[in-house]
């Protein structure tokens, strides 16, 4: 089973971005956890931008004979791109992503991996949580909003600890800030997603929640994702709705004013509402036109955009036997999805 030894069972991707802890410490913690999980593994560090200090530390680790791969990106591309760069180097059937700072207890990796037996993607949720009541309140409010907009009740979008089957990342090419919403995107692709409670690392020292600007970014992200998952296949549903309602409001205003002009002889000239209404009508048309353009884009690329994911094709080819009763001796030729389970 030489081949088996060469290809690890789990590839761990650690993107190193703006926020990172002592990588040696991190590595040791994860290593302990991974060893406890009893899998063969490899670890891939992706340096998102020039982190000379981190690079030096990783070189030391490699010199000590640790099995790590380091991918250095020339500038900061963002965590999603870093993850994809790491994924490209990975070889294992199961992929884990872990933060380069203390978030979860390293020993909890096993809990995540075990969760894969009934899911394609397991995302961590730090629970119970140590936090002040105000940041807790903000966190809950934010996640409620996210759940309401996206229709998927995830409770810790900030947790970067995830474990997944390889084909999840093969099908979902992340970009921008989408890594936060991997669970949502995977769910839309028809993967089974589980959120698993993990013990928070005692060193998770991120204080005071996010600043306002951060929250604004996150909320915009939510709407981006919402648009991506709900309307990419039917832009006119969205633009059409906005466009038609804007147009109708404008039209009603115009009709009211025309009525007032004709019946009550109220002069139109000094009514700003006239400009407003014509602007609304025109805006409605424009938005509608945008939707049509979107549909045009979808249509011209429809061959490359698949709407659905086939889990498997079930077919049996029976070779007729002379007795005529050979229907039960079927030979399965369907491409059944692998049922590989992690060691647990």
């Amino acid at each position: 089973m030489l081949q088996h030894d060469l290809t690890p069972q789990l590839s761990v991707i650690v993107p190193v971005g703006e926020r990172y802890a002592d990588l040696r410490e991190i590595f040791d913690e994860y290593k302990t956890g991974l060893t406890a999980a009893g899998m063969t593994w490899e670890m891939i560090f992706v340096l998102d931008g020039p982190h000379a200090e981190c690079e030096a530390k990783l070189k030391q680790l490699a010199a000590c004979g640790e099995r790590i791969t380091v991918v250095g990106l020339t500038r900061s591309f963002g965590e999603s791109t870093a993850l994809m760069a790491g994924f490209e180097q990975s070889r294992a059937e199961f992929i884990a992503t872990l933060p380069a700072y203390h978030q979860i207890d390293g020993n909890e990796i096993n809990t995540l991996v075990v969760g894969l037996s009934s899911a394609d993607l397991c995302v961590g949720r730090r629970w119970p949580r140590r936090e002040t009541w105000s940041s807790g309140l903000r966190r809950v409010a934010f996640h409620r909003l996210a759940a309401w907009v996206t229709g998927m009740p995830l409770r810790d979008l900030g947790c970067s600890a995830r474990v997944m089957r390889r084909r999840v990342l093969e099908e979902i090419a992340l970009y921008g800030d989408q890594h936060r919403f991997l669970a949502l995107l995977a769910d839309r692709q028809g993967f089974r997603v589980r959120e698993i409670d993990l013990r928070q690392s005692p060193k998770d020292n991120f204080k005071g929640g996010y600043r306002v600007r951060e929250y604004a970014h996150r909320v915009l992200d939510i709407f981006t994702v919402f648009f991506l998952v709900r309307f990419t296949k039917k832009p006119l549903r969205f633009f059409g709705m906005v466009g038609v309602s804007t147009f109708v409001i404008g039209l009603i205003l115009v009709l009211i004013m025309t009525g007032q002009r004709l019946i009550f002889h109220q002069p139109l000239a000094d009514r700003p509402a006239l400009l407003l209404s014509s602007l609304l009508m025109v805006l409605g048309l424009q938005v509608f036109a945008l939707g049509l353009l979107g549909e045009l884009i979808i249509f011209t690329h429809a061959k490359n955009l698949k709407d659905y994911q086939v889990e498997r094709i079930i077919e049996f080819e029976t070779f007729p036997t002379p007795g005529g009763g050979g229907s039960s001796s079927g030979l399965q030729i369907g491409s059944l999805v692998d049922s590989a389970q992690p060691d647990s």
Binding site: Q189, G190, F191, K233, K234, L236, R237, G240, L268, A269, D270, R271, L274, L275, S278, L279, V282, L285, Q286, A289, L290, L292, L293, E295, L296, I297, I298, F299, T300, H301, A302, K303, N304, L305, D307, Y308, Q309, V310, E311, R312, I313, I314, E315, F316, E317, T318, S327, S328, G330
Partner: protein, 321 residues
């Protein structure tokens, strides 16, 4: 490998565990009289009940049954599209999984296809559904669809349809287009026939559709119109849309300039706004030209699907390439 069958019956199922066996039996009984080789493609649209289990049993006992299982529920159009993609026959027949269509009608479809039609659609002329919530809206929708798309079909909603595989496999189907497949296929200019079919009242389960579709159907219709008749000429289409704006705007501005009265703010303002928006619409059309150019839809791909070539070199390559 067995040879590819001539006929593929495509049936999407969504939570139809009671219907699937009777339907299977009815299909087999109906087609065994026709003397054609056939297969059944059952598409499971993420059913939560025993549909997959029963379908798998059927597939195990009858090699003509293949089951395409979705990861989750995607809806009727993707189910049809997947069935069409995985079917191997030359002629594809689609039908509903709820026993409302009668497989005994398939013979009629086959006859029509043999006459040289590319698409044969069923017409539930004696429909067994609720009048107010189903039949009347559907009648209005069908008239409208016929008017707008120029494919006058009495009953777009009937799932029982037959297609030439070489044609339908090239037609993009997405979102909720299954109601508009003949209209969508009109980009290839197919020969379409319509025949009356039987329709049964629903035996098991509940109908999965309601009145809320009206708004979506209207928008989809707009989309179909845009993509089928104007894909190759977006500039023209958007220019047409901007015509009223342009006309009104010009009229308002001309009136302002020519009129001897003092300049009227509402008229002049509206004129400028209308002209500007017409200009933006035309720009959108120009943008559409760019989109079309970068995409991979070309009219000649579709014309090739239905063309008939005659001449000394035409050989047999008239259809399937």
């Amino acid at each position: 490998m067995l040879e590819d069958p001539r006929l593929s019956i495509i049936v999407p199922f969504f939570n139809e565990e009671e219907s699937i066996r009777p339907l299977y039996a009815a299909i087999v009984a109906a087609i065994s009289q026709l003397q054609v080789t056939f297969e059944m493609v059952f598409v499971d649209d993420g059913s939560a009940d025993g549909t997959v289990r029963i379908a798998t049993e059927l597939a195990r006992s009858d090699s003509r049954v293949r089951v395409v299982k979705f990861r989750r529920n995607y809806g009727q159009t993707p189910a049809m599209a997947a069935g069409i993609e995985h079917a191997r026959g030359e002629i594809l027949v689609t039908m509903d999984g709820d026993l409302q269509n009668d497989p005994a009608d398939i013979g009629l479809f086959l006859e029509k296809m043999n006459e040289g039609f590319d698409i044969v659609v069923g017409w539930r002329h004696d429909r067994k559904d609720k009048l107010i919530s189903r039949k009347i809206p559907s009648r209005i929708a069908n008239r409208l669809i016929g008017k707008v798309t120029g494919v006058p079909i009495m009953d777009n909603g009937c799932s029982l349809k037959a297609y030439r595989a070489a044609l339908i496999k090239e037609i993009p189907l997405y979102s909720e287009m299954h109601r508009f497949i003949p209209a969508m296929a009109s980009i290839a200019g197919p020969r379409i026939a319509e025949i009356k079919v039987r329709h049964h009242a629903r035996q098991f389960g509940k109908s999965k559709y309601g009145l809320s579709r009206v708004y979506r159907v209207l928008l989809d219709l707009m989309v179909i119109k845009t993509v089928t008749s104007f894909t190759a000429r977006p500039l023209l289409w958007f220019s047409l849309l901007s015509m009223p704006l342009l006309f009104l705007g010009t009229a308002a501005l001309v009136y302002t300039l020519v009129s001897s009265e003092p300049i009227s703010l509402p008229v002049a303002g509206s004129g400028v706004v209308l002209m500007a928006s017409a200009f933006i619409m035309v720009s959108a059309g120009a943008f559409g030209e760019l989109v079309y150019k970068l995409g991979d839809m070309r009219d000649y791909h579709f014309s090739r699907l239905t063309q008939r070539v005659s001449g000394p070199h035409s050989a047999s390559q008239t259809r399937n390439s």
